[in-house]
Amino acid sequence: MKALVLAALAVLFSCDTALADRPPLPPPAAPGPPTGLADSAALRATVFGTPPQDIAPLPQKVPLLEMDLALPWARPVPAIFWFDKRLRVWLSAQDRPAPLAIVISGTGSDGNTAKLSTLRAVLYGAGYHVLTMPSPTFPGFIVSASRTGVAGDLEQDGQDLYDAMVQIIHHLPRKVVVTDIDVLGYSLGGSNAAIVKSIDATEHKLHVHRALMINPPVSLFASVGRLDKLFAITLGHGDAGIEQFYQQLYATLANIYRASDRVELDEDFLLGAAASVLKTDAQFSAAIALTFRLALSNVFFAGDLYSGAGVVIDPRHPPRVGDSLEAISRELRGKSFAEYFTRIFAPYYMKRRPGSTPETLIAQNRLEIIGDALRGDPDYYAQTNSDDLILDAAELAWLKATLGARIVVYDHGGHLGNLGDRRQAADMLQMLGGRWGGAAP
């Protein structure tokens, strides 16, 4: 929660002057009403995550090794990204031969998030070597491992991830003996995991056994379009709504702090204040939308820089180390994913893939592109929630129809709000272990 409130606050930085309202661009594809946007429980679960008392039993100790890789195909690193030269992944190795679980993070996140830490502990406790990786939409991945610098394409990101995994496996410490490889991920990382397995079915370099998608989007663009819509509904298109939200958060925090007896505004204070800072569904929705917008700013910035599209970065005079990025970040705060798609993503990939159109690009970024594999290969699994706000009813129905008994849909949890709880963890281990006999009635 603290991270979320801070992230929501952080996205507001440097907005000193009001931006002119921009005409809203239509999201590329957001068919049907979102299933969970008005559901209070789903919103709260999404923001607060799994309560600690519901978390599955965890081991006492989990060893951790950070591996920093320089990948041979990485593009020249722009000076402004000097700190993202190497791909950072984290390995928790058993001291005996064991299967390896490779876990991919969600949109915009690195390979060592709190959610990954929970999954790592559960998997390590169950006897797996665990390798956690950033999302291909994380700036550190875009800079160190992407062949394009323009993130968000399921196939290209999947290929970059797959090739990075191959390199990582080749460079594992000698004492790590891997008996089998499974790939899983949460949110967008779930879709990435399924794509990685499908690529492996052709290239056979990893011999991925099982793939598990946890709360995956069916269509990245539809899901993100939904979050764009959420942003527009709760915060509007200009600065006013964002500034208002910041002012509300600030005043609430100041009042709680003044009424308290605390000396320092620390993590414990924020934890205690969390329930009072966000109260209404609109505020929860705004926090979710803002957090996503923060992640998008990084993707947008990198995509603009690498593609030379010139939307917020002058390609002739890209920002140098030490330059202020305030003006750019201010501008990005008002940019939706739809704008990323229409001004950076689509022009870039249409040039690279002759004959493609925005519509074909959207179609290529749906899980349907591996629909046959998902239907026919018994080693694909999924876990999701009926109130996950990144899916609509049709998409959920498609997942159920495609995966059959290999998907479990929980009643509640919103988006990742039950990750690591006893039931989710137990089901995950059964799926990865090939012991899944279908959802309990």
């Binding site: 600690p52 890789l69 041979p72 030490g322």
Partner: protein, 296 residues
């Protein structure tokens, strides 16, 4: 110089990645989650107690003199931050990041492999020494109740806590509440001032920087148990710094974001301003000047 270059070329030609390994302290998920459960329970209990106290008091019986004037959204500071030395600050931020990655963090990670009781002892020891400065500053702030409380902590921990190695006072519900001269200046009405990134230290402001220097000057002048002068002072200073780093859950550029400098600056100064607001509870919120950035 040449060998690493040739190796890099060979790796590139061969299509192989080069890899660096960093051994990190093991994670302790079971204990961490147990701590989170305990924290959640104590927060729930505190919330319930606060509600019961408020109900017992009754809204109508509230003493007007005790009422805390409320902040409204209009009292929030502007979204910009006063940072006229931005170029120097950015340079220092990068320097700190490189220093941290190359030396400070690896040493702190090695330190975190030491047995937990040993690290707690070191942490408590330095915390106890800091009580001296805390006592002085609470006095300067006119918060005499807190002065007495900190004195109590210092006496208890220095004796029953074996020279400060054990935080016995915390077990007696006298929790640590450190303060410094930066907070004293805030209590006296000084604004945070310009944003400042201090080499080897991190985010600060002019006021907090002055406070930090004054705090060091105070303990150097008092020179408790002759710890702050002479050869051993360097060793103690370095150990204190490593202990602080090992207890700070932050890694430069873990966000991967090119906007990290701006984000940290925004959060740091807002946190400071809210803490300042807590120092002047009885006063109405200062109405911010929309033409001046936060902190000025």
């Amino acid at each position: 110089m040449r060998a690493p270059f040739l190796l890099a070329v060979l790796f590139a030609l061969g299509g192989c990645a080069s890899v660096e390994f960093h051994h990190l302290p093991p994670e302790t998920p079971a204990a961490d989650n147990a701590a989170n459960i305990a924290k959640a329970k104590s927060l729930a209990a505190a919330e319930l107690a606060a509600k019961q106290a408020a109900a017992a008091k009754g809204a109508g019986e509230a003493n007007a003199a005790e009422e805390v004037p409320l902040y409204t959204p209009a009292d929030a500071p502007p979204l910009t931050t006063y940072d006229p030395w931005a170029r120097l600050n950015r340079f220092t931020y990068r320097f700190n990041a490189r220093f941290d990655e190359a030396l400070f963090l690896p040493v702190a990670n090695d330190y975190r492999r030491l047995p937990s009781p040993l690290r707690s002892g070191v942490h408590n020891f330095f915390g106890n020494l800091a009580e001296v400065d805390t006592i002085i500053n609470y006095t300067l702030q006119g918060r005499l109740g807190r002065t007495v409380r900190s004195m109590g902590r210092f006496v208890i921990n220095s004796t029953a806590g074996i020279g400060g190695l054990l935080d016995v006072a915390a077990k007696l519900h006298l929790a640590k509440a450190p303060t410094g001269f930066g907070t004293t200046l805030a209590k006296w009405g000084m604004h945070p001032g310009l944003y400042l990134v201090i080499p080897f230290y991190g985010p600060s402001t002019l006021r907090e920087g002055i406070g930090l220097a004054a705090d060091y000057g105070t303990v150097y002048y008092i020179n408790l148990a002759d710890l702050y002068r002479g050869g051993q002072s360097w060793g103690l200073g370095v150990t204190n710094a490593i202990d602080q780093r090992a207890n700070t859950d932050f890694r430069y550029y873990a966000s991967g974001s090119p906007f990290e400098y701006e984000q940290i600056r925004f959060l740091y100064v807002r946190k400071l301003l809210i803490q300042d607001a807590g120092l002047h509870k009885r006063e109405p919120p200062p109405r911010p000047n929309p033409n001046l950035p936060a902190g000025e």
